[in-house]
Amino acid sequence: MMNLLKEAMAKGRATLSEYESKRFLSCFDIPVCREGLAENPDSAAAEARKIGYPVVLKACGADLAHKTEVGGIALNLKNIRDVRKEGLRLMKIRGCEALLVQEMVKGARELVCGLTRDPQLGPCVMFGLGGVFTEVLDDVAFRIAPLTLGDALEMIGEIRARKILDPFRGEAAIDQEILGHVLVSLGRIGLEYENVAAIDINPLKVRPDGKPVAVDALVVLRKE
C-alpha cells in the first residue's frame, strides 16, 4: 500500500486517483463500493456485467479531483448501450485516463468524512453531512487524531442533522459502529502516513440497510 503512495509521490502527483484512493482506504477496513477500472468503453461494458446493472461510470485520472464540475460522472446506467455511449463521451474529457465502473449504491443519505492537517493540532478528522451541498450546509464536526471510538461516536452525534442517523424513509438506522471505525481509521492514517495531506470521502453513502460505504474518495498527497 505504501507503494501506491510512493509511486504517486515519485511521479510528482498531487493526488491519488479515485480508484487508487479507494484501494488505499480499503486497506484500513473502510468499506468502499464495488468497482473496476476499464481502459475503454468495451472493457467498461464487461466490468458493468460483472458488477451488475445499474452502474455508475466515472472519468478517472490523477488530476481529476473534482469530476462533477467537468461532467465526468454518468449515473444509473442500465444497459450495455448506455455504458458504451457514456464511456465514449467521458474518454474525451481532458485528464481522463481510464473509466471507473461502479455499482450504483442505493440509499438516500449522503455523508462526508475526511482528514486534514493543522499546523499546530496535527491530523484532524471530519464528519458531517455530505454530497454536493457539503460546504453550503456546513454541518460538520471535527476531532483531533488519534480518535477513540468514543470520540468518533460523540462527533457523529454532534451534527445539527443528527436525526439522519435514525431510521429514514424506510431505510435502517445508520450503523454507527462501522461509521465510527471509519473515523478512527482516518485518524490512524493521519498519524501513520505523513505523505497523506488530506482525505475526502464524499459522499460516504448509506445503504438502505444502514451500512455506510465510500462512493467517492480523494487522497491528497503532501507537496514535496
Binding site: 498531487a14 493526488t15 479531483a65 462526508v112 475526511g114 482528514l115 486534514t116 492537517r117 493543522d118 499546530q120 493540532l121 496535527g122 484532524c124 471530519m126 458531517g128 457539503t134 460546504e135 456546513d138 460538520v140 464536526a141 471535527f142 476531532r143 483531533i144 477513540t148 471510538l149 468514543g150 470520540d151 460523540e154 462527533m155 454532534e158 495531506a197 488530506a198 482525505i199 475526502d200 464524499n202 480523494l218 491528497v220
Partner: protein, 466 residues
C-alpha cells in the same frame, strides 16, 4: 517533576521585588502593599538603587546585595531594563521570576527584548511567568505578585488561568467587592515566553488547593500538549474555558473539502470537546462559573425544577431550559400531591412550580419552603431554583429556611434568584452567600450556571476509552 518546578511561584519561602518603588500609585509600590495586605509570611526583599526604606521595609541597592537562597523575584521594571535584571537574578541563584513589564511582543523594539528574555530563560534554565503579566496569586500561601491595588484577596477553592491582565485586576476587584466567593490560585499568563496554559493546567491538576479550574485564553501555544493534559484533568476536576477569537473566518483555500472546512476555531472547539473542557462564550460566565463551582455540588443530571411567582417566568424559563439543554421533567405523583396540599385548591400544580398562590395565601416562607422541599425530595429532580418573591408588600421571610434545605439536601444544587425589591435581593445575597448558597440577580443566570455545571459533570463522568 515538571509540576514541582512551578512550586516556588505558589509557595515561595521568600520573595524579592526588583523595582520596588517608594511612590504610592506606582506598580512597584502597589505590589508591596498587596503582598503585605495578604499577610505573606515569608521574607520580603526590596531592591531599588536609591536604597532607603519603603513601607517600613529596608531597601537593598542592587540585586547583587540580595542574600542567597531567594526563591522568587518579581521584576517590575520597564521592558528595556528587564533582561539585565533577570540575568542578575539568575546569577544570584534565583530560578523563578514574574516579569510584570509590558510592551514586548506588541512593539517593534519589544520583540527583540522578548527574544533576549527567551534566550536568558533557556540559558539559565529559569521558570518565568510573563512578561506583560499583571501577576499571579496564591491565597493558600497568602501570596500575590499582582501590582493592581487589590488588598486582601479572599481565599477559595477555584483557580483561574487568564491570558488577560484584566482578570487579575479589575475582574478580581469586582469578585472581591461584589461577590462572596474566593479564589485559590490566579495566574495571569501574559506573553507566555515560558509558563503557558498547559504548564499552568498541569500544575493545578495536582494542586490539592484547587477544586476546579476556570480559564480565559486568546491562544493555545501547544494545543496537542494541552489536549493530552486536559483530557486527564477533566476527569478529576471541572475545567471551564472562555476561548476568544471564535468568529475569525480563518478558512484555507484547499483542494479537499475537509481542509477547506477546517476553520481554526472549529478545530480548537473540537479539541476542547475531546479534552472534556466545558467551553463558555460570555465573559460574565467566567465569574458565574467560578462562583457556582465554589459553592455548589455538581448535579447528577440535567433535570431541573424551579419555583416562580409568575406565569410569564414559568413559560420563559421553561423555554430557556430547552435552549440550554436542561430538562424540566414531570415529577412524582406524591410530589404533585404535596404541592396541591400547600396550595389553594384553584391552581393546578406541576413542574415548573407556580408558587404564587401558595406564597401569597399561606405566606412566602411557607410556600417556598414546602414547595422547595417537595421538589428537592423528588428523585426525578437534580437541581432546584427558587425565584424568590421578596417585597415588603408580600412579606420578607427569614432566609434561614434556605440554609436548612441546603443542609438537608446537600447533593442537589440549590440556586436562588429573585423577583424582588433590590434592597432585599442584596440583603438575601449578603446573608446566604457567605454561608454557601449562591444567588444571582438575573433570573436566567441560575440556569446558565446549571447548564455549565451539568456539562462539567458529564465531562467528569464520560466513559474511559482506549
Amino acid at each position: 517533576m515538571m509540576k514541582k518546578e512551578f512550586g516556588p511561584f505558589f509557595e515561595p519561602k521568600n520573595v524579592a521585588v526588583i523595582g520596588a518603588s517608594a511612590t504610592p500609585g506606582r506598580p512597584g509600590n502597589d505590589v508591596i502593599r498587596n503582598i503585605l495586605a495578604n499577610e505573606y509570611r515569608g521574607a520580603i526583599y526590596l531592591v531599588n538603587p536609591k536604597g532607603g526604606e519603603i513601607l517600613g521595609l529596608p531597601v537593598l541597592p542592587s540585586i547583587a546585595n540580595l542574600p542567597d537562597g531567594v526563591e522568587l523575584a518579581i521584576i517590575i521594571l520597564s521592558a528595556k531594563d528587564t533582561p539585565q535584571a533577570l540575568r542578575a537574578c539568575a546569577e544570584k541563584g534565583i530560578r523563578h521570576a514574574v516579569l510584570s513589564a509590558g510592551g514586548f511582543a506588541e512593539v517593534d523594539q519589544g520583540v527583540k527584548i522578548q527574544e533576549e528574555l527567551v534566550e536568558i530563560v533557556r540559558e539559565k534554565k529559569l521558570r518565568v511567568i510573563g512578561p506583560n503579566t499583571s501577576g499571579h496569586t496564591s491565597t493558600p500561601h497568602q501570596f500575590t505578585s499582582t501590582f493592581f491595588p487589590l488588598g486582601k484577596i479572599r481565599r477559595g477553592t477555584v483557580s483561574y488561568i487568564a491570558q488577560t491582565g484584566n482578570f487579575a485586576t479589575h475582574t478580581m476587584k469586582y469578585i472581591l467587592t461584589g461577590e462572596h466567593f474566593g479564589v485559590s490560585r490566579v495566574i495571569g499568563l501574559g506573553n507566555k515566553i515560558d509558563m503557558d496554559e498547559s504548564d499552568a493546567l498541569e500544575y493545578l491538576a495536582d494542586d490539592p488547593e484547587t477544586s476546579a479550574i476556570v480559564m480565559y485564553l486568546e491562544s493555545i501555544k501547544r494545543p496537542r500538549k494541552f489536549l493530552e493534559i486536559a483530557r486527564e484533568v477533566t476527569r478529576r476536576k471541572p475545567v471551564v474555558m472562555l476561548k476568544s477569537g471564535s468568529t475569525e473566518a480563518g478558512r484555507h483555500a484547499a483542494v479537499a473539502h475537509t481542509a477547506a472546512m477546517a476553520a481554526e476555531d472549529r478545530l480548537i472547539d473540537a479539541m476542547l470537546r475531546q479534552a472534556g473542557v466545558v467551553r463558555i462564550w460570555d465573559y460574565t460566565h467566567l465569574i458565574l462559573a467560578g462562583k457556582a463551582l465554589s459553592m455548589l455540588p455538581l448535579p447528577k443530571g440535567n433535570r431541573v425544577s424551579f419555583l416562580a411567582p409568575s406565569g410569564a417566568m414559568l413559560v420563559v424559563l421553561s423555554d430557556l431550559c430547552v435552549r440550554l439543554g436542561l430538562d424540566v421533567p414531570e415529577i412524582e405523583p406524591a410530589t404533585v400531591r404535596r404541592l396541591h396540599d400547600i396550595s389553594p385548591p384553584f391552581i393546578r400544580m406541576r413542574n415548573p412550580v407556580d408558587i404564587w398562590a401558595s406564597a401569597s395565601v399561606r405566606g412566602v416562607e411557607f410556600g417556598y419552603r414546602e414547595g422547595m422541599e417537595a421538589v428537592l425530595k423528588d428523585p426525578n429532580i437534580d437541581a432546584v431554583v427558587p425565584i424568590l418573591m421578596l417585597t415588603e408588600d408580600t412579606g420578607i421571610p427569614s432566609y434561614d429556611f434556605i440554609l436548612d434545605l441546603k443542609k438537608r439536601y446537600p447533593d442537589k444544587p440549590l440556586i436562588v434568584t429573585f423577583s424582588a425589591d433590590k434592597k432585599y435581593m442584596d440583603e438575601c445575597k449578603n446573608y446566604l452567600e457567605p454561608l454557601g448558597v449562591p444567588t444571582f440577580p438575573e433570573i436566567e443566570q441560575p440556569f446558565e450556571v446549571l447548564s455549565i455545571l451539568y456539562k462539567c459533570a458529564k465531562a467528569m463522568n464520560r466513559p474511559e476509552q482506549k
